[in-house]
Symmetry: C2
Amino acid sequence: MYVAAGGTGTTDKRLLRGVRTRHIVLRRAVDVASVEGLAGLSFGKLAADTGMSKAGVQTLFKTKEALQLATVGHAREMFVDAVVRPARTATHGVARLRALIEHWIVYAEAPLFEGGCFRVANLADYDSRPGPVRDALFRDQQEWLDLLAGELRHAVAAGEIPDTDPRVTAFLLDAVLCAANTALRVGNTDAIDNIRRIADTLLTAC
Amino acid sequence: MYVAAGGTGTTDKRLLRGVRTRHIVLRRAVDVASVEGLAGLSFGKLAADTGMSKAGVQTLFKTKEALQLATVGHAREMFVDAVVRPARTATHGVARLRALIEHWIVYAEAPLFEGGCFRVANLADYDSRPGPVRDALFRDQQEWLDLLAGELRHAVAAGEIPDTDPRVTAFLLDAVLCAANTALRVGNTDAIDNIRRIADTLLTAC
């Protein structure tokens, strides 16, 4: 959903400014949450980091939970832009899976977020804290697992890989990517080699 | 290292009381840190939870970092007692690996710690925060990876599994266990089935 930026009236300008401010705050919030976790977000700190007033930031998001949920949504959009969308040019099945993995490696290695993969940083943190934030994080992960399983199903149907349960293999692939992300954070770059070697084993005909 | 409990003098009794108090506080600290992370530990909260004085708890550990490091050490000991030690009765190689995995499943499913696997909860949280706590967590994980790789090496030498790089397979096994731990926290018990199916594939001759 994109907001049209054509209006010139005061209300349109205010709306536009609100959208921009929201974007700036959320971009910073994603970085902070990737390092310190979503629990580490605060209106005051985000205001200070982005040069805005605390009241201004608070008006945009109202509650801390709404800010956390908006941050999860923003991280998801950035992940889709960096990993999912660019892989869509590849053919369904093994080619698309390899493209997703390579884009994921760039995403985690660069990294896109200050603290590496947003989902890894926050899933382990929130897995024992029931509530809307945990639900949003797990929905996000499920969407990613479903995407991987769907491509694995294509690969099985095309005879590119043996007929194994796509959900189990998707679980395995995601587990390896998450573990590599954690290893990368302490400078263990062998993790990238591990991903590629495991992917080679999983994504070949026998 | 165990403290001898034979003495009867005032100093011995005081020492013994110190050791007991330390144990009670650390047992609680491990549970708190498995849910809220090591950053969530505080002298005041631990004192309240264990019915001790804040000053008493603070005297035992001096600094928050010392408390966090002692908590990592205590969680490690409990993990060794629950998972590593009972598996030692099994023969080196595939039998020992299967025993380690089964004991790990009980450890994560029961769970031994309120928030599930201590290492998973804290590694992702600390991976972007350099310092002694992160170092201790990664040393702990490395020790576990080395244990798995050592048994995989035995399995390869005995011809029980194909000759693949034990470090890559250990990385994969640990990744799957960590991901299952996170899935278990939201009640996804398919994760246990996933572990066993992946282990079956990894730990067979071809």
